[in-house]
């Protein structure tokens, strides 16, 4: 999202007007992207669901009909009813309230960890791709080492070392996801670096920092954006996996993954214990994926023209 904000700042550009042509296109581009995106129905659905999820996460406790510590052993394993839409769990707690409050843990962890890894990964990728040489080798080999571990395993190891807590869960996922961004960005930078317009600004005497910020970064923004939405989906799953094995968000704070893991014990007592948190994870991850796919299509010039053509054709067909 921060990339979108960055781009408008490109506009007031006093010098070298002739060279700014690619950026003149920028301003309308993100709006155009959004409209193309919204014309993709699946992506639009994904976006709407995510907005609902984020609002739920923010309001959390206020939306939940029952307090977090409202335990009532006389009501354990009550099936879904008007009082308890998603039924109650082994401690007689309202599952709907826990799913709603759990949205906060899940989305917070995903948002913060992907945010960190995006920023750090992008910086490392820019540095490695633009500088090249030993810097590139050192950074990318380090990333390769991190990349070599299975994502969940590395995250579990990190949390095990630093102790389970919300903060450490976020940091662990951030560390695990950083190499992905670094690689994506470095790849794009390598190609952008050799573009004619970059060489042109350089020959006009522009400094590295300026070249990177003004000319390289905006051009790698698209893949980063796509990667971000896909990573958010994976981060939700990773958080769920960490909570599932008990090293993620700590009770009594609910998280979808830990609810699912608790539910496993009580499969015979109530299907609703596992179905609803599972559904929440599924819907959220699905939405991020739909949005990510939509973004990729919308930001890819070739794909975009196809979509536009198809969209136009579909409208004609409807008419």
């Amino acid at each position: 999202m921060s990339d979108q904000e960055q781009q408008p700042t490109d506009a007031p550009e006093p010098r070298g007007a002739g060279l700014e042509q690619p950026e003149i296109e920028h301003r309308p581009r993100w709006r155009e992207t959004l409209s193309v995106l919204m014309s993709n129905r699946l992506a639009a659905v994904g976006l709407v669901v995510l907005v609902v999820m984020v609002v739920t996460a923010i309001l959390g406790h206020r939306l939940a009909p029952y307090a977090l510590d409202a335990q009532d052993l006389t009501r354990r394993f009550d099936p879904p009813s008007a009082d308890h839409w998603f039924g109650t769990d082994d401690l007689g707690q309202d599952v709907f309230s826990r799913v709603v409050i759990g949205a906060r843990s899940s989305l917070l962890v995903a948002g913060v960890s992907v945010g960190i890894s995006m920023v750090v990964g992008t910086l490392l990728g820019l540095l490695a791709g633009y500088r090249g040489g030993w810097m590139d080798s050192t950074l990318m080999r380090t990333m390769d080492v991190l990349f070599a571990f299975p994502v969940v395993l590395l995250a579990i190891a990190l949390v095990a070392v630093f102790g389970p807590s919300l903060r450490n869960t976020m940091l662990a996922i951030a560390v695990v996801f950083t190499p992905i961004f670094a690689r994506v960005v470095r790849g794009s930078v390598l190609s952008v670096r050799e573009q004619l317009y970059v060489r042109a600004v350089r020959s006009l005497g522009a400094g590295d920092l300026r070249i990177v910020l003004r000319h390289v970064l905006p051009n790698v923004a698209a893949p980063v954006l796509v990667q971000t939405s896909l990573s958010l989906a994976f981060a939700i799953l990773t958080e769920a996996a960490l909570s599932y094995v008990g090293v993620g968000v700590q009770p009594p704070t609910p998280a979808w993954g830990s609810m699912l893991s608790d539910a496993q014990r009580y499969m015979a007592q109530g299907w609703w214990l596992s179905v609803f948190p599972g559904l929440a994870i599924f819907v959220t991850v699905m939405s991020f994926n739909l949005l990510g796919d939509g973004l990729r299509d919308a930001l890819d010039p070739q794909q975009r023209s196809i979509i536009e053509a198809r969209g136009a054709g579909a409208k004609d067909g409807d008419a």
Partner: protein, 533 residues
Amino acid sequence: MRRRSLVPIVVVALGLAACNGGEEVDLGDAADDEALDDVEDAPDDDPEDDPDADPDEAAEGGTLRAAIGGDPDQLNPHTTTSSFAFTVLENVYDTLVEPGDDLTMEPALAESWEVSDDLLTWTFELRDGVSFHDGSELTADDVVASYEFIAAEGDNAFRLDPVESFEAVDDATVEISLERPAPNLLEQLGAFKGMAIAPAEAIDAGTLDDEPVGTGPFSFVSFTPGDSVEIERYDDYWGGTAAIDGVHFQVIPDPGVKLTNLETGEVDWIDSVPPEQVETLQDLDDVEVGQVAGNDYHYLALNHEVEPFDQVEVRQAIAYALDIATITEAAQFEAATPNETAIPETSFWYFDHERFGTDPDQAQQLLDEAGVEEGEITIDLMVTNEFPETVTAAEVISSQLGEVGIGVDIRTEDFSTWLADQGDGDFDGFVLSWIGNIDPDDFYYAQHHSEGINNFQGFADDEVDQLLDDAREETDEDTRKDLYDQAAERIVDQASYIYFYNSDIIEAWAPNVSGYETRPDQATRFRGVSLED
């Protein structure tokens, strides 16, 4: 408030071994169903067995397929600490004496014993005609070698703490000299198979880790780590030959999978049932559930070396604020009995004592006296998902303490980290359980004596130390019980531990298994078991 939910156990007249040593008549000789017949393939490495087993080869009894929840780390009774190992070894080894049905010590390898007037010399007469699985005769030297090994190394050395020396007077007589009277010596020697008697030769050679050799009803065949353990009937067992051919122990860690395997007939017996499943199981025809009140106790320990838990008022306030009946029900469903002390109601040593009950007002008052402001205390409470009931208990504790303004930060760790943190004192509090034993010394000394090896909470109280030391040497049973009652009262009052409940032992088996009984000491004895169609 005290509730007992003893479900009728499938009590079967235990075929406790006809002592004439003759061929045991087998019931249900056709029970060779899907028996895993690998047993028969095992190389017969002891020819001396054969004369007795002769042609008719003790009619087919079938192999019992038992599921255990974890892998035995190894099968040397003197050095293993794994409860899964003991599930197996219970059937392979014997001790000098062993707990009977009422948990008092009865003759096993020792036929009789005498105690000198000064209570310092115990003389055991060994049973005649007992042989090890390798064919050698049991002699007093084997007993001495076993005890000397245990006393020298291993986690069970403390059981022989009062012993000065062991002596083999003749082949069938062992004399144990004590430094101080030990009224619980028989319990220490016989309450569990960590005190097993093994052949002196094997102990010296150090081969017991790989090749267990005991005197028990079954002999060891094979151990595939992570998968299974195989034992077969020992035909020369002194207590009468077992009815079944052998036992195949399959390792199945997941409780749900284990239960499914029992329901679908893949296994005949499982070593535990999650408490939440008991109710469902009782309605099923194809599963028998054995449930008895056990000796295990679950508790909350607060770190007495961390402020403000060093103040007894704060610990007592927490005890008042907690409702242990609710904690019990939440964590164990109907399969436990709330108890404010450690020793269960079923024991002679039980001390009926209700010190705190549930009284949030009293808790508040004590907190005020201790000068603790509302919201000032947050307990860093350590639990482990190895034992999910600790996590559940912690959630309830968190909710209950919230009512008196005490916060709880639950920290779930894997068990090895948990143990390390416990050792380092890196906690404000933790929830766990101890496997209860028979003698009260095992319930209190290591946990609450200031010198106790398991006193991780850092409790130090001169009165309790004195009582526990005195009780160790007191030989009059009633006086001894009185000392332990006083110690328990003080331990509870000072909230060294805040006790919750004694959990039941729950096992389950298929209806065709007869002659098995779930025991409060968790001894899994398969010698009286037979399989029917």
